[in-house]
């Protein structure tokens, strides 16, 4: 699903530098990325998603070489192939839960909001237990419910890869496990791989593999 080779990336001339000699993620695989703060975990997600361009190396996602795409193509690719879940949920307070789920369809012509998409959204919401709260705005939802909405948003476009950036970081301990299970469950259902940045070590056993990021930090291996 994801293949990263000889990746280097740096912010500015003498800022933070990231170097990933090799990393891969199989279809449907669930991998946790751990590491100290500032080790470049989020940067890796951004590189895989095509938000950032590597200085060197190669990133291949589902057969597409992301690093070789133009900006517009990367945007289209991101919108159609990747689902994002954030630590702060990144929901829009002015949209209802339903419209938040549809948000990806609103911002790119690469996706078309058709009946199938609407059905999917309803099914996902029911599966996530927020089927009766779709008309509420984020302000009227609990944190757990908000993250469920965010998970629905990430999955509604049927991506093959879910990038989760501390998705459970803001949740209470009880919710963390439930939300992660839900994410895995839905990802499995959709046949999507999950690459999740996390600090919650107690959750690690739920992943198939853990990638410790400390090894990629420039200088750490040197």
């Amino acid at each position: 699903m994801v293949r990263v080779e000889n990746l280097t990336f740096g912010y500015g001339a003498d800022g933070f530098r990231l170097r990933v000699p090799e990393f891969s993620l199989d279809d449907g695989e669930r991998v946790a990325v751990v590491g100290p703060s500032g080790s470049g975990k989020t940067t890796l997600l951004n590189l895989i998603a095509g938000i950032l361009r590597p200085d060197d190396g190669r990133i291949d996602v589902a057969g597409t070489e992301v690093s070789g795409l133009s900006d517009a193509a990367r945007r289209r690719f991101r919108a159609s192939r990747i689902g994002f879940v954030f630590q702060d949920f990144a929901l829009l307070d002015y949209l209802s839960a339903r419209q938040n789920i549809f948000y990806p369809y609103r911002i790119t012509p690469a996706l078309v909001l058709d009946d199938a998409a609407r059905d999917r959204a309803e099914r996902l919401a029911s599966a996530c237990g927020i089927g009766d709260k779709l008309d509420r705005h984020p302000g009227g939802l609990s944190q757990g419910e908000q993250q469920r909405v965010a998970i629905c948003r990430a999955l509604v476009t049927q991506p093959k890869l879910i990038l989760s950036d501390e998705a459970t970081g803001n949740l209470d301990p009880d919710s963390k496990a439930r939300i992660l299970d839900l994410l895995f469950e839905q990802a499995t259902e959709a046949g999507a791989a999950v690459l999740a940045v996390t600090h919650d070590h107690e959750l690690l056993p739920r992943f198939e593999r853990v990638l410790d990021f400390a090894q990629f930090r420039e200088g750490a291996t040197a």
Binding site: I51, Y105, P109
Partner: protein, 389 residues
């Protein structure tokens, strides 16, 4: 479409902020348009009234006062002109003189004493009731009827005056015999009586007075709504024959005389007759006086335009700042959109859609407001001009 959807959702969710922005923007767009409409309608109304009144004869003095009193029934009181001037115009055979006597009022509206020729000249027809027939009859303009809630069959009492210092002259109660069709001119705000009735109010004509006294009011024998007026005279079937006028009618006063010349030549001859500045009277063309007034108004208006422009710039800057700040507040949403793969320019389109939606709504409100103003401009201007008077 999607950008519009998001923009609209955003505006609806932050409705209070949107409302303020919309109203401010609407106001900025509306005010200059409304001012312009009202001013140009005022100009048209003023000029139309001036042009519809070819010549005005009155005592030498302020031409503006004379015009305002005779055309707009203002509170200006030009020195009275004697009725012999009316006769002298009749005798000249050069035009039709129509005296107007505007010294009195009732219920805040001018009592305009004139002759029946006035109604023909201004093309005034009663919407209900009849025209003036008998001494004491009053025919009221549509605005008077609406403002005072009076109808045919009601009565009006002239406001007490001590201007002429005539002892024993009581206010006159006048039956309303007709209500005129609205014309959107100052005629809507006038109470018309025969000029002879105005002279009765002035005390020049009188009868064996049938004065309704405070005692009558207290005893409930007088159907009287206005408790402030405790004594007034009333022209009845029994006393009308006793009404008479003292002295020669030639000496009786009018506030001004509208003169409708037969043709341009007559007009020129007539004007020539009153050129001598030694004469106690002057013959003026109200259109010229009004044009002078309008020119002055529009000089003030150009100043107002500058002020409006400055305020508009400031207000748009404020609105712009508000929009800019709201964009800043939405940096997070923009970041999210980018991460989710938003199309390039999406953010710009979203913000543009939002701004355009705001401006469209504001523009619609301003347009509706402007439409209402222009639809009602004539009557409002009539009211404004009356207010000014």
């Amino acid at each position: 479409m999607n950008a519009l959807f998001l923009a609209f959702s955003y505006l609806r969710y932050h409705w209070a902020r949107s409302l303020v922005l919309v109203l401010v923007a609407a106001l900025i767009m509306f005010v200059p348009v409304a001012t312009q409409t009202l001013l140009s309608t005022s100009e048209r109304a003023l000029v139309a009234r001036g042009e519809a009144t070819p010549l005005l004869l009155g005592s030498r003095g302020s031409q503006l006062d004379l015009t305002m009193a005779a055309l707009y029934f203002s509170e200006e009181r030009p020195d009275p002109v004697a009725m012999r001037e009316v006769e002298s115009v009749w005798d000249s055979g050069l035009g039709v003189p129509i005296p107007v006597h505007t010294a009195f009022s009732s219920g805040g509206f001018r009592i305009v004493g004139t002759t029946l020729d006035y109604f023909d000249f201004r093309d005034l027809t009663p919407a209900s009731g009849r025209g003036l027939s008998i001494l004491g009859d009053a025919v009221i303009g549509s605005d008077v009827a609406a403002a005072l809630g009076k109808r045919v069959g009601d009565t009006l009492v002239s406001a007490p005056e001590n201007l002429f210092d005539l002892d024993g002259v009581y206010p006159l109660e006048m039956p309303i015999v007709g209500v005129l069709e609205p014309t959107n001119t100052p005629d809507d705000q006038a109470i018309f009586v025969d000029i002879k009735t105005a002279w009765v109010i002035q005390g020049i004509g009188h009868g064996h007075e049938d004065v309704v006294t405070a005692a009558d009011v207290a005893a409930g024998t007088a159907a009287l709504a206005n408790a402030a007026v405790v004594q007034y005279q009333r022209i009845t079937d029994d006393n009308i024959d006793s009404f008479h006028f003292h002295g020669s009618q030639d000496d009786f006063p009018a506030s001004a005389v509208i003169v409708v010349p037969n043709d341009t030549r007559s007009s020129t001859i007539l004007k020539g007759r009153y050129l001598d500045s030694e004469l106690p009277t002057q013959l003026i063309e109200p259109a010229g006086v009004i044009q002078g007034l309008v020119d002055r108004i529009f000089r003030i208006k150009s100043l107002l335009d500058v002020v409006t422009a400055i305020i508009a710039v400031a207000a748009f800057a404020a609105v712009g700042l508000a929009v800019f700040l709201s964009y800043r507040l939405r940096a997070r949403e923009i970041a999210t959109a980018v991460k989710l793969g938003a199309q390039k320019g999406m953010v710009l389109r979203l913000l543009a859609a939002e701004t355009i939606t705001l401006l469209l709504i504001a523009g619609s409100i301003a347009a509706i407001g402007a439409a209402i103003v222009s639809r009602n401009a004539e009557s409002w201007v009539g009211w404004l001009l009356a207010l000014g008077a």
